[in-house]
Symmetry: C2
Subunit: 444 residues, 2 copies
């Protein structure tokens, strides 16, 4: 019914039924919302973006292989048939655990606050620059579609700039790409950039040889893909080196600006620096007044609830929970399972039953290295190479929400794979009617 028949006070969907508010439309938040499909509650999912993002493939948007809409689906569309669910496009700035309200910044809702009976916090994590916020401008991270399009723009503009740069040193800097952080994202980005340079761009330029581009992957720890078994890290290092990526491990970045990075006392000149090194819990966490774990994550009870804030559950990357002495990894499957579990515990609470402890059933881990290689761990099974890549491809396509995306992504990938093409090789940006904005200091 159109709300112009309703006074503002009851604009929120409170028809006497308990109101479950979910913050964040990622894997965890959506899983929780769907798990409440048939529950006698009203669900309001609040996200500051109108789309759910399939983050595991975001690096493919950043490297111009996929379009944003291939890996993003409007949250409304996903929950369209779930009658007890409403979607609110708004930015939550704080949680008031005493008044049981979520406070909105601007947001579409004029009220500015959303009351809840139960709250599922699933706002995830954001980039962390280890106490160097000033590095953010020079080295963007990859969390949102905007991030991906910004990174894409920088990569493509770097080649454009190199093509017309006449100073050899400056040209080399334009053709040097540095990935900070050797986790899956860093490895996947490095591999994709190396391939673009060697296979996609080669025929497009007249003055430069894009294949001469340097791609550096810098990991502070002893090995890349630290979450995987040592032999898989070893295999990945060799595979990505074959793609032309130079892997540096064992030393952190000590300085970073638009001109390059400093590692182990040596300054490496580079105009394109991407950040894949660290994340921290979304700022919302602090508003709960609960003590935070390392990386700004929220320590939760075994049932995913918070003792300090009754009715509040925390799931996904934002939650800090240990299992068998190990912290649970920041993976989509963990978030999904936690989301369903939180929903289950809310239903139990409604029946006056205590919450059940959460147990993660591992689905394994995968990471791709370039165009046709990957490493994977499923249970005790470890596999590498093309087989692993095919498995990765199938798993991710199967995961993608909505037939349309699955189908189109397949087409685009098939094309990319067959033709070494990059279909989405477009530089677009906020600045209207002129050159897209550049990372500062790019004038020749």
């Amino acid at each position: 019914m159109p709300s112009d028949t309703l006074p503002a006070a009851v604009a929120m969907p409170l028809r006497g039924r308990p109101h479950v508010v979910i913050l964040g439309g990622g894997f965890g938040g959506l899983a929780a919302a769907k798990a409440l499909r048939r529950a006698p509650v009203d669900v309001t999912l609040i996200d500051q973006r109108n789309h759910h993002l399939f983050q595991p493939l975001l690096y493919q948007v950043a490297t111009a292989a996929l379009n944003p809409s291939d890996i993003a689906v409007p949250i409304r569309q996903i929950l369209r048939r779930q009658r007890n669910a409403s979607v609110l496009l708004a930015e939550a700035v704080a949680v008031d655990p005493i008044g049981k309200r979520v406070l909105l910044s601007d947001g579409v809702n004029p009220e500015g606050a959303v009351p809840y009976d139960f709250l599922i916090l699933a706002t995830g994590v954001t980039h962390s620059y280890f106490g160097h916020p000033e590095w953010a401008g020079a080295a963007p991270g990859l969390k949102t579609i905007e991030d991906a399009l910004e990174i894409r723009k920088r990569i493509l503009l770097a080649f454009e700039s190199a093509e017309w740069e006449t100073d050899p040193a400056r040209q080399r800097a334009w053709l040097t790409f540095i990935l900070v952080g050797g986790g899956p994202t860093g490895v996947e980005l490095a591999g994709a950039i190396a391939e673009i340079a060697r296979h996609v761009m080669t025929r497009d330029f007249r003055r430069i040889d894009p294949a001469k581009a340097r791609v550096l992957l810098i990991e502070a720890g002893p090995r890349i893909l630290p979450g995987f078994a040592p032999e898989l890290s070893q295999w990945a290092t060799e595979a990505i080196s074959r793609l032309g990526v130079e892997v540096f491990t064992g030393n952190p970045v000590t300085a970073l600006d638009n001109g390059g990075v400093t590692v182990h006392g040596e300054k490496i000149e580079a105009r394109t620096i991407l950040w894949a090194a660290g994340v921290e819990g979304s700022p919302l966490a602090s508003s709960l007044g609960a003590p935070l774990a390392s990386g700004g994550r929220i320590p939760v009870q075994p049932d995913l609830s918070l003792t300090e804030a009754p009715g509040v559950f925390v799931i996904g990357d934002l939650a800090s929970l240990h299992q068998d002495g190990q912290p649970l990894p920041a993976l989509a499957p963990v978030a999904v399972q936690e989301g369903r579990h939180a929903a289950r515990n809310i239903l139990r609470a409604l029946q006056g039953l205590p919450g059940l402890p959460f147990t993660y059933h591992s689905r394994g881990m995968l990471a791709t290295i370039g165009r046709a290689a990957a490493v994977g761990e499923v249970a005790r099974l470890r596999f590498t190479g093309f087989a692993a890549w095919l498995f990765w491809l199938l798993v991710h396509i199967a995961w993608l929400i909505g037939f349309r995306n699955r189908f189109l992504v397949l087409t685009e990938w098939a094309w990319t794979y067959l033709r070494y093409e990059r279909g989405a090789r477009l530089i677009t940006g906020p600045k209207q009617g002129g050159l897209p904005d550049r990372p500062s200091g790019t004038k020749g």
Copy 2:
């Protein structure tokens, strides 16, 4: 060869051969570049964007049916195999006809100026607000991918805002969409928005009924699609009215702001206003010192050259040329034919031959009205309805550059057509980590 072996002075591709500079990578500029494929000249195509845009389908990006990369292709990719052509991503700010140089603003080229022997000016037109530049912010026009994504964002955010707006009047304003200008773009946008409201959005919202959205098409002249025969305008008016679009003709917009427009003394409250009313020649035109025709276009000689600026040719929307007493329409086919003709006359000039006058061989005109209707004129033939739409579909798909696009566009369209889906229904924007920017004054 990498230019680090060259001093800056010869960074421009001057190997003793005449240097043809083409400003603008649209239909005309690309046609000219391709026509010079085997000519004994060096071609430098300069554009401020890295992609050629298939503008006739831009409204489909604005209405979330297509992705930017479906209708845009990197110019480098198009000219990849043309060895005598270089592409420069830079913004040309002025032409120096005396010194025979093109002056660049920022741009990748450090020189800041590109010398030419022959210049083909194909920078097209931009929006014109008829002496009301202050209207631009409230009523964006549709020329670039950035425009299209901005319009898409405003349309989608309008429904989001209406869903949570509790004041009936404000909610109605959010659900009112005004198209200013009854040309093909205005008609196509109006039809597409009406369809989104009635078929795509309906199931997504809980409080509003998107089908209740008002879509107004305001044309100052006596009829919409003035470029077409009167009976086609009549047919189009009826067809678009059946889609739910309210057509107002005969009165210009006299006032316009974020709150709505004033027509014939009446203020119509609307939060989404789109501009399709007028265009004017790109500002570059004035730098030539030649007298400009109406709409800032450049009057050209019958051979497309300029008496005031030797070696300079003007083609496409920017050129003002009459044929049989009628000004040539601003259509892609005109630009393409002019581009090829300018190339031919350049080759003749190199052989000391005079330029030949240009004659446009009409390919007809087409305009779509919503999902499955169109009007068309080919020679004396006039057709309407589904047949015209199918013809429009085929023509445009055939026109799209590159198999990949053609194929993907087909898939997306087939999907849209079968499912009334809008695959690219994403709100993205410059603002990072928060709500996308809104048209100003949208707070509840």
